[in-house]
Symmetry: C2
Subunit: 308 residues, 2 copies
């Protein structure tokens, strides 16, 4: 099945074969595993699955820069935690806070901002902000094999979704450009919005209160809410994605669940259990038991970054 020329940035091997074989079977009209196009839902985590999340997720760097702007207006901010750790790029303290606390901080920082203002702020940041290690724009720290895979799935009639722990509006600000995924196919963490009037116009303003932290069990719950269909393919890279992978595999008929293992210190970063913000422990230990295909970045990917 790997004789075709699809997925050129994937090395031949078990992972690539599993993908090509799966797609061939679910798209074969009249075949035993055929799935009609409307049911060909594929869901991808974002950070670590489509985009580099080391040393921290892009959104945390966005937050650092936003807090810098606040600190310029109110110098006392610099002395208060967790702002101090953010401004000093103290990754150890930041990771110690945990992912949810970091996102809560991001949400507090943007309370009262309208959806449209947030879009402009995020867009402006994404246009210039660069990754501290790789030097390229954050939005260009996407994985080339994954961008190819998204295209390949769409060419085969799949509808591709992002189901991210990151803020839904932040991911929407670059998903179309980076992945060809429209805003309405991005599911993520969110705050409550309130309906307000600003300059005589109806707007939605961000509240400081969580609506959903889209991680672990919340991923399948939000898939049920937003899509209303079980995916037939899901791709993740951490324990936060395990519930989504299991939910996908438990559907009837052929299903494919994939998990990236970041084992490539040379081209990216080698990490799994020790990355506190988004560890890969249980999902790796139980991949076999749950029928999840582990993708080794080192072994399975010919190239890593889209822009290389």
């Amino acid at each position: 099945m790997t004789a075709d020329h699809s997925l050129p940035s994937w090395n031949d091997g078990a992972a690539k074969s599993a993908i090509l074989d799966f797609v061939a079977r679910v798209t074969k009209q009249g075949g035993a595993d055929f799935v009609p196009p409307a049911e060909r839902i594929a869901t991808f985590d974002n950070g670590g699955t489509l985009l580099c999340e080391q040393p921290l997720q892009a959104q945390v760097f966005f937050l650092i820069d936003r807090v810098k702007e606040l600190a310029a207006k109110d110098p006392r901010t610099k002395e208060r935690q967790p702002f101090k750790a953010l401004l000093e790029h103290d990754y150890k303290t930041l990771c110690g806070l945990g992912r949810q606390a970091l996102f809560e901080l991001a949400f507090t920082t943007h309370a009262g901002v309208t959806d449209e203002e947030f879009e402009r702020i995020a867009h402006g940041w994404l246009a210039t902000a660069r990754h501290p290690k790789f030097g390229r724009l954050f939005k260009e720290c996407t994985y080339r094999p994954q961008v190819e895979l998204l295209d390949y799935l769409r060419e085969n009639g799949f509808k591709t979704y992002i189901v991210s722990g990151g803020g839904v509006n932040f991911v929407r600000a670059f998903a179309e450009e980076a992945y060809g995924i429209p805003r309405e196919q991005v599911i993520g963490s969110s705050v409550r919005a309130w309906f307000a009037i600003k300059d005589k116009r109806v707007v939605l303003r961000k509240a400081a209160e969580f609506n959903s932290f889209d991680d672990r069990e919340a991923k399948p719950q939000n898939i049920g809410l937003h899509i209303g269909r079980r995916p037939i393919l899901a791709f993740g890279n951490s324990d936060g994605d395990l519930a989504m992978l299991r939910y996908t595999k438990a559907g009837t008929g052929l299903r494919l669940a994939l998990l990236i293992h970041h084992d490539d210190a040379e081209r990216e970063v080698a990490y799994d259990r020790e990355f506190r913000l988004s560890p890969l422990t249980e999902a790796l230990d139980k991949a076999d038991q749950y029928g999840i295909t582990v993708v080794s970045m080192k072994r399975d990917w010919k190239a890593v970054f889209a822009a290389d």
Copy 2:
């Protein structure tokens, strides 16, 4: 502009002209009002806008039949309110409860049911349940001019969504068949789901707790959450839709907000202010002020039901 042959079930007049003119302008390449296809989002309320909601919403009849099944197992149910009112088709008492209380009752009745079981139950009911006045299947009590309008919008590159106060899973059970709208383009009221294991399979079970009651301000909030774009066209029929219509109109560029007035006692039912479950009062009084086009069922529709 009304010289073309689109929307045959609409009578020529101000409402039809407003629709044809709007679509012509937003789709005219190079025109001042051109909107790229990705931004052509149209949102429709369901009950009363796409489907007859008199004497009660289809979902309330579904609930009555579900409660009958419960009462057959536990005869004491028959004596308890609000079950008694439901079983006796006591519409006055039911309307007095209010819409949110009725939906809460529906949700309680289905607590613990999995998404897939609910789909089967709703599908089974929809296949046979008939409207008490019109005699046809509930899912065939759709409005022909509206089904034509949905088709017409899609032919013109629009993405059509339902944004309903009804339960999202109930509306999804017939939206594709009745309106050509896929499950993932249905937004509605929802309960929280929980991630559970049943017969060794991962499932989502319905909790008895509300996630969102998709009415009034919640409609634009849920549009922001699910779609992440402001609609350019919205269609409703009650005060519960007013926030969505105002949110739509407040976007930049050309926008169209429409409101059905049920003024046709002969072909359907004439009602507005007095229908307690879903009154039309403020939206009608302020339609001019907010730039909302009122559609008269009697004057603007050549035919009412899709199946006529």
